[in-house]
Symmetry: C2
Subunit: 572 residues, 2 copies
């Protein structure tokens, strides 16, 4: 018996569902409905199209073998029908049909369904800022916006850009403006850091500094009050600044596009996403949903979350197709794995940040390391700071963050961490994780293993750390904490600048001399132990503990992190 399958939405989850289902059940009659004329595109590629890395928008709508994914392609190659420029008015669940209107002809029509799949995606958030709907304000919501932005850039009319919102899309857009078009670019973020919630402050600071080094102005803790037209250009007014701009990108997040589902009486969750079970079935068993428009369980927090990623949309589309074809596949949930390029660096994470873990009620803490991605003697080695978030009671790893150069070194650690975190991996699992080792790729104790080892030491009380906020505040004003004394165990040539600048607050004893010169370390101060990666400092702390000098704190990740945060106090 032929089944009528209707899919609303033709970008990622929709086409994936259709194509997989057609392979599983070749007799299925499948129709995708989309309000746009451009379908099945890689929306995540938009910043690279805008930057010029990708020269033609058609590349984002083509297969890997360079065939355009248009309605003809779906008909001829896939056996799937697509109605474009067609707006669904409502879902009539009682009669099991979808009612729609052709946006070109205005003609109303309907399609019956045996099973319906809702893949309506997400809508950019639109904060109530006066002027936010002016022609110069763009959202990265679809290909048309991308094409419009690129055309504007190509006409050479843009020399100043303002990006509102420092999430991944905002930062990627800022990069594409500043890097390839040499546009004076500012990012404005309402929260006190870029990439809020996903990334903890130290890692956000490293990326902020990197953006600044590449000429992007980053304004945090700053709200946009209004946007005005001004002589062919625009003026963006915040609570602190006024900025001139030729183009403005509004990238303050997205929310699930669940209105159709809600109006049809399907359950919609507190986060605004359509509620589905682990077979991705909505509250109506004949209706499935996938992609940005649904809520999914977070595998670490256990909480429902929105996870608007093209990769998840594709995985979910496959699972919907399986279930429609009678294969009981399940979608277990998300770990929140994320990575992005920014100029010569990349930043990534999986699981929960420390902030998010604490907010979810975990007995959470974290460690930061800053070790080499490959053997220290291998010419291409680079430092990759990592942060591990864990539950001190259960020793479960809750999250990992990484920052590094624009290679796949951070990707390798984030992907492996995602695999273990998705399986409930413990700190011990991470210590023993058998990363591939050869000097051109890793170190004998991989940076991720080493980070787990640091977590193990911290949980068991063998490592006590100072956080960067406190340390930086002290660096700004050492006299504010006269009970603190820095113990710099690096080579004297590295330590000298600091010793000179922080006279009376900065003791330098090279690591290899600590055992011999321990008597020089005063017993009446809190010793802040500093090195480059944190490793030597940890060892020194163990030793000081063993001789009864137990009042010390380690700066985890040490100067390898400080160098990447580069605050104003850096001696010159």
């Amino acid at each position: 018996m032929t089944k009528d399958i209707v899919i609303i939405g033709g970008v990622a989850a929709g086409p994936k569902t259709a194509c997989r289902l057609k392979r599983l059940d070749p007799k299925a009659h499948i129709t995708i409905i989309d309000q746009d004329n451009l379908i099945s595109y890689g929306g995540c590629g938009i910043p690279y199209f805008v930057s010029g890395d990708v020269s033609d928008e058609k590349e984002l709508r083509s297969t890997s073998f360079h065939v355009l994914r248009d309605t003809d392609f779906f008909h001829n190659a896939k056996g799937v029908e697509v109605l474009i420029r067609t707006q669904v008015r409502n879902i009539d669940r009682r009669h099991k049909q979808v009612n729609f209107t052709s946006l070109d002809s205005g003609v109303e029509d309907s399609l019956p369904y045996d099973k319906l799949v809702i893949c309506t995606g997400s809508t950019p958030n639109n904060p109530p800022i006066p002027g936010s709907n002016l022609a110069g304000v763009h959202r990265i919501s679809d290909m048309h916006q991308a094409i419009a932005i690129k055309e504007k850039l190509a006409r050479g009319k843009v020399s100043r850009a303002v990006v509102i919102g420092a999430g991944a899309i905002g930062i990627e857009m800022a990069e594409s403006f500043a890097d390839l078009w040499e546009i004076e670019t500012t990012i404005i973020e309402f929260m006190p850091q870029i990439l809020p919630k996903a990334i903890d402050p130290v890692f956000a600071m490293m990326l902020t500094h990197h953006l600044q080094e590449h000429g992007v102005q980053v304004l945090v803790s700053e709200g946009v009050k209004k946007i005005e037209e001004a002589g062919g250009a625009y003026k963006v007014t915040t609570d602190k600044h006024s900025l001139d701009a030729d183009i403005i990108i509004m990238a303050v997040g997205v929310h699930p596009r669940s209105e159709l589902a809600g109006e049809a009486g399907l359950l919609v969750g507190a986060q605004g996403g359509i509620i589905v079970n682990n077979r991705l079935q909505t509250s109506d068993p004949d209706i499935y949903a996938a992609g940005d428009c649904i809520e999914v369980p977070h595998l670490v927090s256990g909480e429902k979350t929105n996870a608007p990623f093209g990769s998840l949309a594709n995985r979910q589309g496959r699972i919907v197709a399986d279930n429609l074809a009678g294969i009981p596949s399940i979608f277990p949930g998300v770990t929140g794995t994320f990575i992005m390029k920014a100029f010569a660096s990349c930043i990534g994470c999986t699981g929960l940040s420390l902030e998010a873990a604490l907010a979810s009620g975990f007995d959470a803490d974290s460690v930061i390391t800053a070790q080499s991605d490959r053997a220290h003697f291998f010419p291409t080695q680079a430092v990759i700071p990592l942060q591990m978030v864990f539950d001190k009671r259960t020793r479960r790893v809750l999250g990992v963050q990484g920052f590094g150069p624009m290679t796949d070194a951070v990707l390798a650690r984030i992907d492996s961490a995602a695999a273990l975190i998705g399986k409930g991996g413990s700190v011990e699992d991470f210590s023993n994780l058998e990363m591939a080792y050869a000097p051109p790729f890793s170190t004998a104790i991989d940076a991720l293993n080493a980070t787990a080892n640091a977590a193990d030491n911290l949980i068991d009380g063998r490592l006590r750390t100072v956080n960067f906020d406190d340390f930086m505040a002290w660096m700004d004003k050492p006299e504010s904490r006269p009970d603190w004394l820095a113990l710099d165990v690096r080579h004297p040539s590295d330590a000298k600048l600091f010793k000179d600048k922080f006279q009376g607050h900065w003791l330098t004893i090279p690591y290899i001399e600590v055992r011999q010169r321990a008597a020089d370390i005063p017993a009446d101060k809190t010793i802040i132990i500093i090195c480059d990666a944190g490793t030597r400092s940890s060892e020194v702390q163990c030793y000081l503990d063993s001789i009864g000098k137990t009042d010390s704190l380690v700066l985890g990740g040490g100067f390898n992190i400080m160098r990447r945060i580069a605050p104003s106090w850096w001696p010159s």
Copy 2:
């Protein structure tokens, strides 16, 4: 109470045990005994020192902060004593003491122990080949050999090298000769492929071809009969060739150095390694062992195995130290994770190869894919062939192999696979593994996810493949199987050369026209479906099945693999 800890072996597991234990138990009195004067070195870095990537051998013996790890370093920085050039004669378990001889003075002495740790490493295999002990034949067993080889190269006396054994070390040495010293280099392997057992034939062929492209002669299925001196140089005679060489590397594997343990009555396993429990305790509870000298359980096969890797030695050293200090850490076993660089490429694996899985009694099969490492529209994208080995009955993933360019793209997939395989991950776990996605790093459905999807399809009978051996044999002699017909669904411009060469055996229908032109496909032949990555072919197979043409096979990984194997039949 002070504990006397004696550690035999000062390269990797030994120093790691000592340093970790000293931190956990600062009062422990720890002595490392080693017969060499050079200790605590990164033996895996030897090929990079020989090649010149690493200019000074001291870099392999230094910390990441550039301090030489000699006896003074261990004494001053670590509080650990090291006796170098000291040979242990025997272990007197009854009196709990180690008897040794100073190699310089000849003086005999002994040290009592409360706990003993054996980290005696491994010994290079030494096949009974006449002439294998000539001065020109080197083994990569220690730093002295490395220094001797490098000196010989630096004197410019080497223009022809023969490497016996095509394991990782042999291939790395061949690369270091050919790449930086431009030495005419030949590898000879007794087995029918390079990297035997670890890597399946198709992946070994890709690496073989890459080595050949870089000027290395690769001889497989070839045994060395003798080595002779000949006028200041050497002659290597195999059962097929006679090769002149100025230097010869013997790299035919290693075996555990367990003689001391065995003579002391400790249990030694069938593989020659010291038997330990998961706390790394030998059959004498006061004696632990770690590193190359022990047997460990393989987490996939369940069998005992030798796993001589510096990374494992370090992890095991940490676990021994924990247990000596009263922390009940366990070493769960190994997944056999491996990666290596070879010229502009890298190859890696984790878990079992298909050959090994079948030998271990699994109901094993495998799939090969050849997809992009990052978005096809991203400028730096490259194809990374992957092979997944799985058990058809339980759907457990048993192994993953990868080949790709010299980036960390393969590393990322191998490391994540290692994490899941170590946790008993299934094909579904791999399909849903939440790899980090952004176009500069990956594809919406990551190559590893896609490989799992192919495995899922194969297990469920939706994908039937032809193996490369059979396909290549047919390409060599199409008339040998007149029942086969190739169906090339690539773009006609790609297919034309083959259509012309294989007239009558090669049907070309572009992927997007298959549904329209299905009548052109004969029903009385086995259709071998071919594309670049295997994806289109799989789709076409589904479609042909749906119209009753069920006699077809897909060439998984398609021409992206064929191109990398580049056999002689390639049309020109």
